[in-house]
């Protein structure tokens, strides 16, 4: 009884399957390792650069603190939300409640297209129209509007999905009681869709916190604290520090860049963990019929 030299077909197939799964797992490791290294590098170098003065002093040349950049980022992100939330939420409501027709289809499609426009193109568009065209110069308003343009598609899409998950029976119950359209949407559907909308807004915050390219041509950079002017006054932001200070050949500049990166990454991480929890907690609730 001699075994054939070649492996049996079944064994061969098992080998190929094993190889396939190993390759799949290997590609995951190949992707996860850089991510872990990015987090590790930023945390290690960022924490060693962290100090109390970062939060109390403004940037002075290539040293000092980051107070101007931290507050600037918060101002720009809030400014973006002021424009993006109303537009995004209302557009999302339209798409979910009345968007079955041709117009809705087109907007839904173009919403995705807008989300795919490179952020530098949005930034340069704002530079041409707002910074030069309107004569606003580098300013909070120009920066905020550019960020808003970038996140509106996401807020609209999240809002639409949140409203679509509200069971139709609830709306019909409202109409049966004689409510008007506006009442049904704002008093019945909106409260149920709210967690989904908040998810979208959090997502938008996470994106705008980390953006650089659309702000370079619109918000500029400033070493000083924001003085409350909406136009004709540039403003600092954290991502600028990362990009610009790492290119300076000074240790203090590099330390600031990594500290800024740490702050940005921490905020983005926290929001993403929050998102994961929120999405998992809200989905079964919003989807369930009994409540």
């Amino acid at each position: 009884m001699s075994r054939p030299l070649s492996l049996s077909r079944t064994t061969q197939r098992r080998w190929w399957s094993g190889l396939g799964w190993s390759l799949a797992a290997a590609s995951f490791v190949l992707v996860a390792t850089p991510l872990l290294d990015i987090l590790f590098t930023v945390f290690r170098k960022g924490f060693s650069a962290l100090s109390f003065t970062l939060f109390t002093k403004v940037t002075n040349g290539i040293s000092g603190g980051l107070l101007n950049a931290i507050t600037g980022t918060l101002v720009l992100v809030s400014g973006a939300l002021v424009f993006a939330v109303p537009v995004g939420v209302l557009a999302g409501i339209y798409l979910s409640e009345f968007g079955r027709g041709r117009f809705g289809q087109v907007v839904r499609f173009l919403d995705d297209v807008l989300a795919g426009v490179p952020s530098i193109v949005l930034g340069y568009f704002s530079y041409v129209t707002l910074v030069i065209g309107m004569g606003w110069q580098f300013s909070v308003l120009a920066g905020s509007i550019t960020l808003a343009l970038m996140v509106v598609p996401y807020i609209a899409r999240f809002t639409e999905t949140a409203f679509l998950q509200v069971p139709n029976g609830l709306r019909e119950a409202g109409y049966a009681l004689g409510f008007r359209e506006l009442t049904v949407i704002t008093r019945i559907a909106l409260p149920l869709a709210l967690p989904g909308i908040l998810t979208g807004i959090l997502f938008a915050i996470a994106i705008s916190l980390g953006e650089t390219a659309p702000l370079i041509y619109t918000a500029g950079w400033s070493n000083f604290l924001w003085n409350g002017r909406l136009v004709h006054e540039p403003i600092g932001y954290l991502t600028y520090v990362i990009w610009s200070f790492i290119n300076q050949p000074y240790r203090s500049a590099h330390a600031l860049a990594f500290a800024a990166a740490l702050l940005v990454i921490l905020m983005v991480l926290l929001i993403n963990i929050g998102l994961t929890i929120l999405v998992r907690r809200t989905r079964p609730l919003a989807g369930s019929q009994k409540r």
């Binding site: 590609s27 992707v31 996860a32 991510l35 009345f98 919403d111 995705d112 041409v128 999905t161």
Partner: protein, 321 residues
């Protein structure tokens, strides 16, 4: 007909989204029009970008005022954009499909939730942080380890031989781009795999296929269009990526890469890198030529996105899943 103020307001607000796209197209085209007529086709075929003499009096050429010796050709940046994106996709596509298969089919559901978070985080890392990591970790690694290894293995191909240099360049930019594109492709393919009807899988199992053969022979072919759509979506992202590329590409001006380690510049990162110098141009032609680059990028991104959406159908990268 009844007047419905609520709906009217909704329609007006909603139409801001298509209007925004239209405004981007119109205003970029209008602003860059003098540059478009002045540069002509030479803009995309010329490889020399020269702001000209910004201190001498500008001269009139083809009816517009430009600095003496000004010449705007972006072929180098077009080549840089296409090469980085192509190499990034070559790396990212097989890896993403592997990741998608691993996450969709290779794991128990409680592990899957945790490991899927890795892919979501990869998408969440800001591009400037990728750039920072590229600057601090990747470029030294490319110049000391990855580059020499690649040259030893593939050095017989001219594109992989030659001087490795500082590590800033095509290879580093492509690796960073690949990392940024992987989560887009992987997430789309993973979601598509999860939607494959169980009949398809069961039929394959019934034929005696192993689990991997079911994935390889039944499920992946079923989501082929989604994979292509996802890749085009990733391509759109790679073509327009700015900060990360800017920070690791080495910023080549006016010369073509001679090997995979050469410094390069992409269209998107060039716009940012020209911020200061272009604004010193008293005629404004440089700023208008940059607007022309932005216009070209806009049109490219719209086209790639439209193709990607048509292919992926209902699957979209904006959905909260």
């Amino acid at each position: 007909m009844k007047l419905r103020p609520f709906r009217t307001v909704l329609v007006l607000i909603t139409s801001l989204i298509p209007l925004a796209l239209l405004a981007i197209l119109v205003f970029l085209a209008r602003y860059s029009w003098p540059a478009l007529t002045f540069n002509g086709w030479h803009f995309v075929t010329g490889h020399l970008w020269d702001l000209g003499n910004l201190y001498a009096d500008p001269v009139k050429r083809h009816g517009v005022l430009v600095p003496i010796g000004a010449n705007y050709g972006i072929l180098v940046f077009i080549v840089g954009t296409l090469l980085t994106s192509a190499i990034a996709l070559l790396i990212a596509i097989p890896v993403s499909i592997g990741v998608a298969v691993f996450l969709a089919e290779g794991l128990r559901s409680n592990v899957r939730v945790v490991l899927s978070f890795v892919v979501e985080l990869l998408a969440a890392v800001p591009s400037v942080v990728y750039g920072l990591w590229g600057y601090a970790v990747l470029t030294p690694l490319v110049s000391r380890t990855i580059g020499p290894a690649l040259r030893t293995v593939l050095g017989f191909i001219p594109f992989f031989s030659g001087s490795i240099g500082s590590g800033y360049g095509l290879l580093a930019a492509s690796i960073v781009l690949a990392l940024m594109v992987v989560p887009i492709i992987a997430a789309t393919v993973r979601d598509a795999l999860a939607r494959v009807p169980s009949e398809t899988k069961e039929a394959a199992y019934a034929m005696g296929a192993t689990h991997f053969e079911v994935v390889r022979r039944a499920m992946l072919p079923a989501v082929r269009t989604n994979i292509i759509g996802a890749c085009i979506l990733g391509l759109g992202r790679a073509l327009g990526e700015t900060m990360a590329v800017l920070m690791v590409s080495g910023g080549a001006l006016n010369y073509f890469p001679d090997n995979i380690y050469s410094p390069i510049t992409t269209m998107a990162s060039f716009i940012v890198s020209q911020l200061d110098s272009a604004m010193q141009d008293p005629t404004g032609m440089a700023v208008r030529s940059l607007a022309e680059i932005a216009l070209i990028l806009f049109i490219i991104s719209v086209i790639t996105n439209i193709i990607a959406r048509l292919l992926t159908g209902t699957a979209r990268n904006v959905s909260p899943t």
